[in-house]
């Protein structure tokens, strides 16, 4: 991977331009001047312009992932904002939202400011999500107003659910003043207990403590009802079950303040893949059955899910090399995301590539209130260039994260990011 400063004039020549706003895919060139969008269509480059051959490739909006864990501050051995940025660039992501479950957590205006300032030094755009409650203890609301002024874009205690229903109501109620999304990691901990995977035939065979799908859907349903009650914005993260998908689909019919995301790993794997006790597949909420996987794909197709988010969660080798019970929950996902979701949705389930790109670019930006019309002339260039048909096997050497806990290692993926343009630089994957 190589990052270079954009020349004064750059022409992306001969690719297919995918505009997720206008929902078009047609041949054309892109002219970038001084790092800004200049024109799209037929471009005749000047002599001094840097011409990049994009034939066979698709040029589109830079991907945006609204759910990543970059572990800074506190666990810089797992990931930093810098190393996470590299992982993002490798996956075609120009913009991410980092979850606040760092150490200490992002639960104050000062910590939000710190992350924003640190993010400015990074090669991608980084937006902090603030904690809903102080120390993520589920008891006291954070200073949401001040945190928003410092640059927070949403609130979540992710990693932990807001268990207390009254507290969740207060959080949603309070957030209505600012109209920002509340994101709740939905798992009923009383039902989950020491569960480390989905409860089903496979968990029975493996002898592992497990939790059923309603561990999630029960709380998702609660959150949806509370949203209805309060009029707040609710974003449901990493939906893993058919039941939750149904609840969300149902409630979205009458409430346009609800959005939801699905992860590449829940779309790609089923609990049968855990048969070898692969700790890289230990994640919360867990990978569920084939029926759930099908329901998630259907949910992506019918718009129940607005976006794809990776829930990129780095952990050290030492932690993941332990036994299944001790290994932490979570997996990295930025680098493998596009090849995985493109394979499952577009190649295997006849999903429209434009729709997929919307789920990776426009839709997540909308949820967070970011600029969505990236092709408007004069806007800073924030683009992703990918090969939609490239078949490849994901390897350890494709990882730029500081951690290597990916269950995608060894998996056959289809579609590969070739270059990412953001903040006046182009990063090419060699």
């Amino acid at each position: 991977m190589k990052t270079t400063k954009l020349k004064k004039q750059v022409v992306l020549k001969g690719g297919m331009i995918l505009d997720p706003m206008k929902e078009t895919l047609k041949k054309g060139d892109v002219l970038i001047e001084n790092g800004k969008m200049k024109s799209i269509g037929k471009v005749t480059p000047t002599k001094s312009a840097d011409v990049i051959d994009c034939s066979g490739l698709i040029v589109t909006h830079g991907f945006c992932d609204i759910h990543v864990h970059f572990r800074e501050p506190g666990r810089e051995d797992k990931e930093t904002l810098d190393s996470g940025s590299l992982a993002a660039l490798a996956g075609g992501f120009t913009r991410v939202c980092v979850m606040p479950n760092t150490n200490p957590p992002l639960d104050s205006p000062e910590s939000i400011r710190y992350t924003v300032d640190r993010g400015e030094e990074c090669p991608i755009h980084i937006h902090p999500i603030g904690a809903i409650t102080k120390s993520q203890n589920g008891k006291e609301l954070t200073e949401m107003g001040a945190m928003l002024s410092e640059g927070a874009v949403a609130f979540s205690d992710d990693g932990l659910p807001v268990t207390d229903t009254g507290m969740m109501r207060n959080a949603l109620e309070y957030a209505t003043m600012f109209d920002v999304p509340i994101i709740n990691h939905a798992e009923d901990l009383c039902l989950k207990k020491d569960g480390v995977m989905h409860e089903g035939k496979i968990s029975t065979q493996l002898g592992l403590p497990a939790s059923p799908d309603i561990t999630e859907s029960n709380m998702v349903h609660r959150d949806l009802e509370l949203t209805q009650l309060t009029g707040a914005c609710l974003h449901v993260p990493h939906v893993s079950s058919a039941k939750s998908t149904d609840h969300i689909r149902q409630m979205k019919k009458s409430n346009n303040k609800i959005t939801a995301e699905v992860t590449p790993h829940h779309l790609f794997f089923t609990d049968e893949d855990l048969i070898t006790y692969n700790t890289d597949l230990k994640v919360a909420p867990p990978i569920r059955t084939q029926a759930d996987q099908k329901a998630l794909i259907k949910g992506a197709k019918d718009g129940t899910f607005d976006c794809i988010a990776t829930d990129h969660a780095p952990h050290t080798i030492e932690e993941k090399e332990g036994t299944f019970d001790l290994a932490p929950f979570g997996m990295i996902g930025l680098e493998s995301c596009f090849g995985a979701v493109n394979r499952v949705l577009v190649k295997e389930n006849k999903f429209d590539i434009i729709r997929l790109i919307q789920m990776l670019s426009v839709n997540p930006r909308k949820i967070m209130g970011f600029e969505t019309d990236l092709f408007t002339n004069g806007n800073p260039a924030e683009l992703t260039i990918f090969d939609p048909n490239k078949k490849w096997t994901f390897k350890k050497s494709d990882i730029y994260s500081r951690s290597h806990n990916s269950p995608f290692i060894g998996e056959a993926l289809i579609g590969r990011v070739r270059a990412t343009i953001v903040k006046g630089h182009i990063t090419a994957l060699v």
Binding site: T204, L206, G207, P209, T276, Y277, G322, T323, F324
Partner: protein, 311 residues
């Protein structure tokens, strides 16, 4: 001689190999009846008994089997808390491997730990119980005992009674017995039977009297007192009333069925003393068959190849 290098569990384990182990166990039973109960089969082989959890009975049974086969044995009692403190499971495994050994017999509280061990070392791994997953040597000795008693396993009706959810013995018995063509019914409090048990190809019946009426043999599992009085079971008395194998309960049935128990027994809870000590119980045969079965497993995995290559 056996198709798999390790013995990690009986799920998917070939029927012919289970039969080979049982047959070999019977020949070792004869050795155990001799005045000098020792054969040189595994002379020069080194086996480590790696126990991350206390289990005096299983460890002694393995140790005895190893000594009767003339293997060198080392006992290594580790605690998982030391793993939590820093040394990784991988470090422990590689340290042991570096000592040039031939096999590891491992007891570990975590499901999947033996499979995990095979990924880090080259020695043969024998699972002596991994948490709530499997305990294959226990199931093999149970099947050896049933085979000894009945002369066959195919079509045999076996009831497994007790806490199925937390039992590695149950899971290994289910896989082994199903593979050998026996029928299995699980019986116990509904809170202690896994919700997806029937997917394993067994029946579930909460009425112990019906199971006694149906079965040729019962494998009565130990009920741990820690489970009592919590969210899963109200009391010892309630368990005993509903599932306890008592003389009165058995006397209501005409057919005399065989009673097994993997030990250690909670007399008066899951089984009455009068039943455990009766002629229909084969609990002590199981103990002896435990040594013979483990001799067979060790012999077939570690030494059988060179000596009996053509048989």
């Amino acid at each position: 001689m056996l198709q798999q290098k390790h013995l990690l569990g009986l799920e998917g384990y070939p029927a012919e190999d289970i039969q080979t182990i049982i047959d070999t166990a019977f020949t070792f039973r004869e050795v155990l009846d001799r005045p000098i109960k020792k054969v040189p089969s595994l002379q020069g082989k080194t086996i480590v008994n790696l126990f991350f959890e206390n289990s005096t009975r299983t460890r002694i049974s393995f140790e005895l089997a190893q000594k009767r086969l003339s293997a060198d044995t080392v006992n290594f009692s580790a605690s998982t808390s030391s793993l939590k403190k820093g040394e990784t499971f991988k470090d422990t495994a590689q340290n042991i491997e570096a000592m040039k050994i031939d096999a590891v017999v491992m007891r570990h509280p975590t499901p999947g730990a033996p499979l995990h061990l095979t990924q880090h070392i080259n020695s043969i791994v024998i699972n002596a119980g991994d948490g709530t997953h499997e305990h294959p040597t226990q199931a093999i000795l149970d099947m050896t005992s049933l085979h000894e008693k009945f002369g066959y396993l195919k079509g045999l009706k076996v009831g497994i009674i007790g806490d199925i959810s937390h039992s590695r013995v149950a899971l290994s018995n289910i896989h082994g017995l199903k593979t050998m063509g026996a029928e299995v019914t699980l019986c116990g409090p509904s809170t202690l039977i896994p919700p997806f048990a029937e997917d394993l190809g067994v029946s579930v019946n909460y009425n112990v009297d019906e199971v006694i009426e149906w079965a040729d043999a019962l494998n009565v599992l130990r009920i741990q007192r820690e489970r009592m009085g919590g969210g899963l079971l109200p009391s010892v008395r309630e368990y005993r009333n509903l599932f306890g194998i008592s003389t009165e309960r058995l006397s209501n049935h005409k057919k005399e069925i065989v009673i097994m128990h993997p030990g250690p027994i909670n007399r008066g809870v899951e089984i009455d003393s009068s039943v455990a000590d009766s002629d229909q119980a084969i609990i002590l045969d199981q103990v002896l068959n435990g040594v013979a079965s483990r001799m067979a497993i060790l012999y077939l995995l570690l030494g059988g190849k060179q000596e009996e290559g053509n048989s």
